[in-house]
């Protein structure tokens, strides 16, 4: 699976070379980054397996991989993978237009089956998070559409969707007041906290909490929870998520630095 993502997709679309930029991050909090020339073309980093010292699974991000959308990104967290495409600012239907800001729309397609009520609920969460961050007033009477496709689900899906959406919005050049990231925490029956749980850990956990945090002040933008937990546990999870988000934001920054320093 790693080589699949390491593929350097260089395509000639209407005579224009399109480089898709792959950046692979390690989940280790100490963050040792080594560039590996073996990954064809683009330099990425070796991803180390999830050891006892680190909290997040290994993640990777690939931007600008689709030719049609204005911006696209694929975010990989462990085995969970989501592909996001952003169209906008574009034409909006008169019934949906807002006179002083951009209309944001999110479409989430599950891996199998038709989208149902759970997808609608998640779309609303992602849309409201993006609305809080995107500077819609700079593009009034336009629409910005974020389309998310679940490629594989191995736990922490909503967090992965949020990360993919953020990277895709950056790739599209949509003006934002800050970046955001998604972090999932799971609490098991004896109160142990696990960050970025796998599907198995999520099923066995007593509570699963997903947070979206912004990059400027680490404030809580979005939260959705499953299961029972106490107030103190909530504060503990929030603090752990804020610490983990620092790591994700650093990865975003390096990913973008890498991209823009090349060209």
């Amino acid at each position: 699976m790693r080589t699949q993502y390491a593929a350097n997709t260089q395509a000639r679309a209407f005579g224009r070379k399109r480089w898709s930029l792959l950046h692979v991050g390690s989940g280790v909090m100490e963050g040792a980054m080594r560039s590996d020339a073996k990954i064809r073309g683009e330099s990425g980093t070796e991803s180390s397996p999830r050891g006892p010292g680190c909290s997040l699974r290994h993640f990777a991000c690939e931007q600008n991989l689709l030719s049609r959308p204005d911006g696209s990104a694929s975010f990989l967290q462990g085995d969970t993978s989501v592909l996001a495409g952003v169209y906008g600012p574009a034409e909006v239907k008169v019934s949906k237009e807002i006179f002083n800001k951009a209309t944001l729309e999110v479409i989430l397609r599950p891996k199998i089956g038709l989208p149902g009520v759970a997808e609608k609920s998640r779309e609303r969460l992602i849309r409201n998070t993006c609305e809080a961050v995107v500077l819609g007033t700079l593009h009034p009477r336009t629409s910005i559409t974020v389309v998310l496709q679940v490629i594989s689900d191995a736990g922490s899906l909503l967090a992965c969707c949020l990360n993919a959406a953020c990277m895709a919005l950056v790739d599209a050049g949509v003006p934002m007041r800050s970046l955001f990231c998604g972090v999932t925490c799971a609490l098991d029956s004896d109160g142990t906290l696990m960050l970025d749980p796998t599907a198995k850990q999520e099923k066995e956990a007593r509570a699963v909490l997903t947070f979206a945090l912004d990059s400027v002040e680490r404030k809580l933008l979005m939260s959705t929870t499953k299961g029972l937990y106490s107030d103190a546990e909530l504060q503990q999870c929030l603090a752990a998520a804020q610490a983990a988000s620092q790591h994700v934001f650093r990865f975003y920054r390096e990913s973008l630095q890498r991209r823009y320093s090349k060209s």
Partner: protein
């Protein structure tokens, strides 16, 4: 020097009408500065809550909740079904929130809109997370027959804070549900329903939802009306049960909140739970002698 101009009352009325239409946010800000709201409430005060149970005679359980102007009615029907194959000793609880065009001009007739679907998912999550009823209690015969409770929540008047009203209506209706005794006769292997012997459901926890609206990224107000929800920059709903455990922290985007602000919300949610519990107990006491 002694001449004093009388204030032009029409000018004042015109200005107020003007600002309400053209700059509603500015109008609200003037009130929020004085720590109150246009309808006279404090920032942490709920609207008058009234609950009426058992009004629908054809349903197995029903409740009508009014939170100021917001009105939600919940009707519960119990039917038979085969238990799920992966959990043969469990029944089903199927909630559905309907926001018909009756309640507000923003909803059109047709398939459920996004707001209704999100509310339905929220109620389903609350039932699942809070373990309000043990699904095993709904099983009649493992692997063969179980109860399925269809909970239909219909909003009759939409004036903001639909989630709180729906949660309360669901809780009140579930407390009102009476299921008849069902025995499976050995000879015919068919279910025999004894309508004369009815028993209440075993409600284990009492989840109570408290909703907040965030204004200008800093101010938190409790129980927003429809107008306030429209002007708010974010919303937050906390569902708490009696031990102070949280079943759901629903914050669908909007302005960021710090941990300290969340803590204030939790304490308000605790006091709200006490208020609602008191109201529930009064209602249950009043319906006891049948």
């Amino acid at each position: 020097i002694g001449f004093q101009r009388k204030p032009n009352i029409w000018k004042v009325i015109f200005e107020t009408e003007f600002i309400i239409t053209v700059e509603p946010l500015e109008y609200y800000r003037r009130f929020l500065k004085e720590n109150c709201r246009p309808d006279g409430r404090e920032l942490g005060e709920f609207r008058t809550t009234t609950v009426n149970i058992g009004s629908i005679s054809t349903a197995d359980g029903s409740a009508l909740v009014k939170l100021g102007n917001t009105t939600v009615i919940c009707g519960i029907k119990a039917e038979f079904a085969a238990p799920p194959t992966d959990a043969p000793d469990k029944g089903y609880v199927v909630p559905n929130v309907d926001l018909p065009p009756l309640c507000s001009s923003r909803f059109r007739s047709g398939p459920p809109g996004e707001e209704a679907q999100v509310a339905s998912q929220f109620i389903a999550d609350v039932i699942e997370n809070s373990q309000i009823i043990q699904k095993e209690d709904l099983c009649i015969s493992p692997g063969k027959l179980a109860w399925v409770l269809y909970c239909d929540l219909i909003c009759l008047d939409y004036d903001g804070n639909i989630l709180d009203a729906c949660t309360f209506a669901l809780l009140a209706a579930l407390k009102n549900v009476q299921l008849p005794e069902v025995t499976i006769s050995e000879e015919t292997a068919l279910a025999e329903v004894n309508l004369k012997k009815k028993s209440f459901l075993n409600i284990r926890t009492h989840p109570v939802a408290t909703s907040f609206a965030v204004f200008d990224d800093t101010l938190l107000i409790v129980d927003p009306t429809g107008e306030e929800e429209h002007l708010a920059t974010g919303t937050l709903t906390v569902v708490m049960d009696e031990e102070g455990k949280l079943c759901c922290l629903h914050k669908p985007g909007g302005s960021g909140l710090t941990g300290a602000k969340l803590q204030d919300c939790m304490s308000r949610a605790v006091t709200r739970h006490k208020e609602v519990k008191k109201l529930m107990d009064e209602v249950v006491k009043s319906m006891k002698p049948k």
